[in-house]
Symmetry: D2
Subunit: 372 residues, 4 copies
């Protein structure tokens, strides 16, 4: 195996920094794999690019992302720019023979997502999306519990995702309320619980949706008000393969919720409950416990839940959000090295996008839509 | 005001005993109102009737409920028999000039519920349904918080009700899986969260449903298996007046859930969360707290939340499920005395039944149904 | 067995009403035992006595408690007056041949408690104290878990009791801050966790204490301030038989705590955690679960936890504080009928008082005190 | 300011890796300060040293820690070896003019801790201990709440620390049960809650302790059993300056507890509750909320709680245990740069050690001990 890998990073915002932290930490955490060489950082403003390159430990910087993609020493490119740029940058990187690690969602338009998936196939490079929540060791543990048959046959699934960054009705109108950003909560949020659904059960086969705008307009900086075009709330019914029934509720105007992604999975022998706001805890109810002593167990994340052990040898001490990105980065490196890896690649990601678009279509047509 | 009121009780099962406890306790708890005279108890088996009359403190007993209804000393009749008998007994009692306190749901068939409501109107007697969860002082507090505008304009409501008494796939087939009992979770469970919705927001105006059978058949006592005819799981989207979006999920095969009735109410200034399994706690998030110190408050039920104070003068000591029935009994007595009271009468109850039937119709027709 | 028992009640405050509710409900809940005949109620003010007798369902009332004790139809007397009167009334009732159900604590002075225990022995009547928290079915379940050896050998116990009715430093001085009421939190609160300790493990053998006054003085109604004489906070180390180590912390000025009585019981194979503010939940950790799936189980009270089943046939629906008093009343009746019963009688109660006094002595002498 | 700083690391176990992760991440997280140059890594086994240097990104490695200390390019040394080696290594590093970042506890013997503090003073170098729990942004927020007077005057403090790595009575005897390792839970655990106490209130002034061995002996690998010499359980009463009463309970054989460090801080206007197992949550009760809406608020860690914002711009997404070490590393760098910093230096650390030794002395002498 190569002992190092050249890394380029486009974008230095929320997710850009998150990728940078992962690239800085992954080798020390996992010990194995190539050492990431942090070579090139691109940010639209060249001065900021320089400053961030220094902070994040990148050797070079540029105000022109195409320069980064043209850099032959770069093997893999993190794309963390606003959604509208994902397709262009990811495709360019793939065509330049780079592996790509692109933030979710893939793209605003389905056609763009399709082009991205096609580009990844044509380039025969690794192209992975940033669905970090699937990397929580406890989400893997849920998968293990399901695979073991511990809760029997699953018959009902509930998903929720709620945050409150759009909850203030008097916050200024910004791009997330503009139709060019997509449907609203569906693509902004829905893809996260759908990514968990994907790794645990696969995609829904049929969906029915209702989208809702909590606020019809918002103030603008010039003192006028502008009509809101996206839906901050989405309510969805779905079916999984085999008919298992599901419900998904999304709300990005949910006061008090800060990073809630809640799962309830009901089976013929037990139940699993999870909430990302307590990401180091998993609730499990099984019927095999003594009747007087049955109850939901609160399982704390621990070294037994790989790869928690790579971070901390002691149980219950707690991983954080950024640690999930380090795990994702490691899975990406495994994939690049040709090993099996837990990633959502562009192909699977395209499948998730199709679900989102089916949900939007269902709202418009007010009927069940089969997912393509 | 009369100083006493003659009470008759039909049925001595789960709810029969619950009514008996309420009739025994209501005067001592509240101090006001007439003293209930426990006069007549009917149970299909005369021996059991006698035994239960002794236990519950009723003077007379009978194996024939019509005898009880013919008893001129009885002013009010508790009807706690299986759902199929509600209509016949309640109507007979009303026609005999009695007030009626009938357990939910009103009836299996909508036509029966309609006849009951008509009988109540014709008799000009008080006819109240046993929706005791609305009597929780914390549910009243939620109503107060909403009325005060503390969480602003409500834009999204989520309801869940889950228990696990149908969760074991190998439990014997019994009447709850027979189509003659109704739709399944919808009428068995759905009416409870709908009763909370009723007192907080009124009825949904439009519904879309998906019903699901977690188990297709169940064993019978003769060793064969019988097809399940009712739906233990129901998933519902709804709209409230004004368009507010809602989701309701019901599951009576939800392992580990024992009496969960969960509410999440999102508004423009805050959020309310409640779970009946922790019926003495209420979660409230408001935006008026200092930013560094905002969080969901866990409010414990207390004397400030009337009528908790009638039970216990100290806060946080906890009411129980049976206490809610005592409050309901007191509201019934207030209503009989001609005062305002927090009850679901046959008229409002019929409205809830219409919602349930609209939900069932939506499942059959796979489309949104406007509630009649 | 006698089919009825004559009941007298002295006192109509917080605990007086609680006893009244129990006497009204016990027969309907449990079905067995004699029917309580509510005969005589005494309250220092004769008008209030009359009013409360009507509300609580007692036949006669008096402003002179000695009249009640002289009433030959009364078989058992509930003593629910302020602590200072317990000894005089309980002893008089016992000497008159009545059974006695007296609220805790027994008495302010140890000598009085000793006289009460002696009177009970001399009278050969049942004399029971109102330690209702031991009656929670989940506390019984803890006892069962310990007896089964499920958590192995217990090596460490932590007790806490906290409420906030003395937390406001500007609340007016009242009798609980006067030395004549006792030591403070120790006797006011400490006896509750000690009653739980009693039924689960027996009494401490050795104690070390530190008492503390959060507020040195309080306002009085005439605008002056008066020095506080009792200790609202107590911190205690103790040993159980065999040397097991324990800690107890009490605080009746603990803002936000409303009825917290918390237990943590650590053993060689598991741990039990309980909090009275969530009296329908029990936490249990056992090492026999699969390593990846170990966690504290939240057990909801259920019919399997007798006598929950006498109140509600469905699990997880929740008992309330007043229900514990009904169970206590039933245990009293069992004891009177000559059966084994789960009660703290005057003898055991005296033992608890001795522990409290040893704790106070330890604070004064600043050394470990062996419990007499 | 220098743009880089030379880093040496001694030890590659649990804490060695934790330091390595911090050194790798600190610059990218905080952006400011010098870039750590990872220069030299020492581990007793030279092969492991080489392997870990590669994993952790250190340039050189050695099997002889004195070589590292002699390396003139190294400016700061992380000492993460077993406690017995802290004094020798830290003093050598200080004498060689290096800054030192040494894991807690300082040393087994008080005399060693005193020598370390003296060496730091003599060398005029920064010497900081690894008390990372104080770095949690929510612990800082607790400090802010106290400083703001939000909960008024504190009158009672409870501390608990519990884990279960010594809970299995049949686990093999290892060095933590050997008296040469110290007293047991007191020094192994007690220093953590004491570090929190230190930054929030300062040191206790007076202590009373009781130490306990849950298991008298343990199996050894040769099949015999060996007497346990240390105390896995400690129970402590203490006073803070001004007399405020406190309780501390420690148990490293507490089944089910994985990283519990619990605080309860009671004041004249409110209460703060914290548990490290839910390190992203803080409970706050204040009396200024409306009476019907008062309750403990669950505050989720958020960008408003600096320096959470350096890790994640979104609230409620969760920091992890390792992130606290990154913050600690940043505080160390601030201190080295001559700025104010939130650290426990050797001087303050010595003060904490004195408290621990006073506690041990109290147990031996069974009396209150004033802390030196």
């Amino acid at each position: 195996m190569k002992t190092s890998i050249g890394v380029g990073l486009i974008g230095t915002g929320y997710m850009g920094k998150c990728h940078a932290l992962a690239w800085n930490g992954v080798k020390a955490v996992f010990g194995d794999g190539p050492r990431p060489e942090l070579l090139h950082l691109a940010e639209v403003n060249g001065d900021i690019a320089r400053k961030k390159a220094d902070e994040f430990g990148f050797e070079k910087s540029t105000g022109d992302w195409r320069e980064l993609i043209a850099d032959p020493t770069v093997d893999v490119v993190s794309v963390t720019t606003p959604n509208a740029f994902h397709a262009e940058m990811a495709i360019a990187a793939l065509e330049a023979g780079k592996h790509v690690w692109c933030e979710k969602p893939m793209a605003v338009a389905l056609a763009d997502a399709e082009r991205m998936a096609a580009a990844a196939k044509a380039a025969d490079r690794v192209a992975v999306l940033g669905y970090n929540y699937i990397q929580n060791p406890l989400i893997r543990q849920i998968g293990q519990i399901l695979a073991d048959g511990t809760i029997g046959t699953v018959n009902h699934v509930r998903l929720e995702m709620d945050e409150d960054f759009m909850a203030d009705p008097e916050a200024l109108f910004y791009w997330k309320s503009d139709a060019s950003s997509g449907y609203g909560a569906l693509d902004d949020f829905g893809v996260h619980p759908l990514s968990l659904l994907q790794v645990l059960f696969g995609r829904p086969t049929r969906v029915f949706s209702h989208l809702y705008k909590p606020y019809l307009d918002r103030p603008t900086s010039d003192g006028s008000r502008r009509a809101v075009e996206t839906f901050d709330i989405a309510s969805v019914l779905f079916e999984l393969a085999g008919g298992t029934s599901g419900v998904m509720a999304l709300n990005r105007s949910a006061w008090g919720r800060k990073g809630r992604i809640a799962l309830q999975i009901f089976g013929s022998k037990g139940t699993i409950v999870y909430d990302q706001e307590r990401m180091n805890e998993l609730q499990l109810y099984v019927t095999s416990d003594k009747p007087t002593e049955q109850g939901f167990r609160t399982i704390l994340s621990a070294p037994q839940h790989a790869p928690y052990d790579r971070f901390i040898p002691a149980p219950g001490h707690g991983l954080g959000f950024n640690d999930l990105k380090i795990i994702e980065c490691h899975e990406l490196l495994k994939k690049i090295a040709g090993h099996d890896a837990r990633v959502i690649d562009f192909d699977i990601g395209l499948g998730i996008e199709r679900v989102v678009h089916a949900m939007a279509q269902s709202h418009q047509q007010q009927r069940w839509i089969d997912v393509a």
